[in-house]
Amino acid sequence: MKEYTVIGQRVPRIDGRQKVMGQAKYAADYSLPGMLFCKVARLPVAHAKILNVDTSKAERLPGVKAVVTAKDFNGWTWGFMANTRDEPPLAMDKVRYYMEAVAAVAAIDEDAAEEACDLIKVDYEELPSVFDPEDAIREGAPVVHDYRPNNVSVEYHWNFGDVEKSFAESYLVREDRFRTSRATKGYLEPPASLAWYDPAGYITVWAAKQSPYFHYRHLAACFGLPLSKIRVIQPFIGGGFGGTKNDSVAGDFCAVMLSKMTGKPVKFVYTQEEELTISKRRHSMIVYNKMGMSKDGLITAIQSRVIADGGGYTAVSPLTMYLTGCCTPLPYKLPNYKYDCYRAFTNNPICAAMRGHGVTHTRFACEIQMEMMAEELGIDPVEIRMQNAIDNPKPGEIYRTINDMTLKTCGIKEAIQTLVRDPLWAQKDKAPKQDGSVSYGVGMSATSYLGGARQLGHQSCAAIVRICEDGTVNLITGATDCGQGSDTVLAMIAAEELGVRYQDIDFKMVDSAYTPVDPGSYGSRVTVLAGQAVQTAAADAKKQLLDILGREWKVSPEEIEIRNAEVYHRSNPSRRIPFDKLAKIACYSGSGAVIIGKGYSGYGIEPLGFENGRGNAGTSFSFTAQTTRAGVDMETGHVTISDFVIAHDCGRPLNPIGAESQNEGGAVQGMGQAIYEDFIMDRGKTLNPTFLDYKMPRSTDVPDIKVIDIITDDPDGPFGAKEASEGSHVSAPPSVVAAIHDATGIWFKEQPVTAEKIVAALKEKGKWPGKQ
């Protein structure tokens, strides 16, 4: 196998120095002369008909330059699909969730903008509301959107094989109700943008977006301008995790509109409390899961009926509900499968994508239910997994799931076996089970996640590699690094393919005036798809360089190699020049050649089969097995997670540091969802919209984490790579809950498994050592 010079090296992040030195500028750090500040006014009611919005007092406040309301947008709405464009920038006829935006103000400072918001008077008539998704889809529930009178915002009914027949023939069938938590992303940088509407008809924004080109299309549509006049400049992004930063928010449209009205640049920055109250969060889903098994523990059928709390608008949820269903036939062989899902409109905040998108809900249900059944059958957690797990296809072969997803590589069995050998699992029975009031347990999970996702329609993903005359390189893509480290990986791919050093690559962030259109960061697609585009573009640039040198040296270009920024003749390696010399020769050839390599991702998949659930959701699939050791205080219910071991098949880690840290971060975020994180709601109002009360794991809650790479070299990924940022987010919750079960003897089916829930369950079973 070819030895890589850059791929697989533990290189520092390309943006690391700037971030550490405080030099990296985020959206909120940008300002322009004469800039105004925008604040959004919101109605603290979950469901109400808007009768009148009176902005006259706000407009008269000194310092206020303009006020925008829904009528300024002429009824424009946006959404993921042509028939789900139900979200307006500002509420028009009614508000559908607590604190929905109704107006926005531009003023000379933030204080005046805030004060003006207080002076806006909204007359409204409160409407009957609905907050529970199961209530919402019952006959007679208050209607959230007239175009969906049954409150079902998305529904799919897919059927593969014959589950009924299979259940009838199964040795064991179990039905359980699972629920996932109301989790959110918890990034440090809330939504923010600086907007400038040039009266000549150009929009320029510096916006915190992990998918700048979605925002670019939204702005063009909202303001009726051609795409050529929309310029989205991507600053450094302070975390994404899907949902909000793939999309546009009220402040985005209002800042541009206020700039258009005033002729001045306008900036908005949401507060963290605002973000945690109204921004798009993960769906909480109720999963009624039914699984059949043979006496030997082979899974015969799964039927999942999923009811998701969607909140007030549709957003990206047709994709959410797709992913929630389509990946259930991974990572275990599944011959019969039925999926019925209902995403309910409610008067809760909008729910959308988040890391581990969709898959985390049903995989949690299936993984826990499988273990419960294995327990009933007396089969151990490793054996049940190994006998159901999908084998790694032989080179050139393809594994096809019952819903026509295709795998060329699958490291799940190797991952499980690796964990079985690891001391955490191998010596679990030797480790103490009890210390004072604390019981210890070890749990396992095995999961899968897609990489190289697509959404709808147009999915272009391209790269440009421009050679400078001194041998350095500009890498231009449409990809956005929202913190996951993709700029680093793309630079490594360019360096490896071109044969130069990593530090010779300069990465250009998105500026829609100059960079190629791209869907951005979601569905673990950047390394896989933008990576291939970069590899192709670098190969193209290399070919142009070698053609010129071949003429110069009077040899065939194929006889020349570039490695480590050295250019040499393959059969006569002493004939060599440094890469910068080659760049100079090439760039100065003729009247001055311009060496620009172009490439785009070629292995995009077919559009998703929303109606029947058939086909690939991603280009390839990662596989993750995880073990967790947890200590549960049987008196207080307090859980301490001491160890994670994660065996992850990402094909091949291109930047091992990046793959490791993504695995660690994903697992810790998954652990938060498993035991701490939940929005506490009271009639649509979020009672804990702060990081004091929305409990994300602190550094002192985080276990020791060991990440083991399972190398499978997927033929569809650049240098064999698959995804590495969402797999461990899916594997963490079932592994944590299995560890808590091992410690307490109790299976928990609702996330988060808080200390309080543990004590309540122990009391119910008569296991709580306190007074009863």
Binding site: L43, P44, D111, E274, Y676, A760, K771
Partner: protein
Amino acid sequence: MAQFYKRLPRFQYLLPKTIEEALSFLKEHKAAARLFAGGTDLIPQLKKREVDIPRCLVDLKGIPGLDSIAYDEEAGLKIGPLATINAIKDCPYVRDHYPSLLQAASSMASPQVRNRGTFAGNICSAVPSADSAPALLALEASVRLLGQKGAREVPMDKFFTGPRKTVLETDEMLLEIRVPRPKPGSRNVYLKLSPRHSMDLAIVGVAVVATCEDGICKDIKIALGAVAPTPIRVPAAERILEGKRITPEIIEEVSQNVAAQCSPIDDHRASLEYRRDMVYILARRALNNVLTK
């Protein structure tokens, strides 16, 4: 129209150089003035508009000497109003004589907030879950207040009057927290339960100070945080144990009694039932800790 965390409201900022000057500002502005020490409670409250917007903030940090922590065998510990939480945490006298204060200080907030926030401020903010309060109550601390009418000393168990309310008059300031020297042979402990391992609010806090002589409990003080409108002492439970031989049965009885004495709320942080159960668990642990080990 509702908004969120806002910019700081406008107020006058006053920086007295002496205690007398600070008191004269308080006399002048009365309820329209707020004393400003660490600000780690006050500033967020102002941004959230949770408190009346003061006309002026009187910053105590310009007055020299208010951050002192002193100890002597006679008077015990004296904590100045500007002594930070970390200063208490790192103080050798606290470490040697008042482990419960050390446990309270170490468990509060983050290192950054502890560097900024003051121990006295934690008392004056009077939130029911303040970590310093149960320990100070059980140690029978008192506070020395100074105002226009002169100085007065208020025992800790008379200081809190309700959630975020104390006996402090609008023209008064806290001059000192006094913590008596623990009786020879006595032990003290503060146990806190919060969902996460650090940087989190107490769902329940229990402090116990007790002396055990020849298996007999002498002089027991039990205080609770986060489970009543103010931090509280539980004298009825103390009376059960006072002068009795220490047995698992009596510790069980007292722990149950302590749980029965509290009146927790049911809120988004924890249910009433869980808080009450945890008072029982933590009281039992704290009693065993000081009486049986």
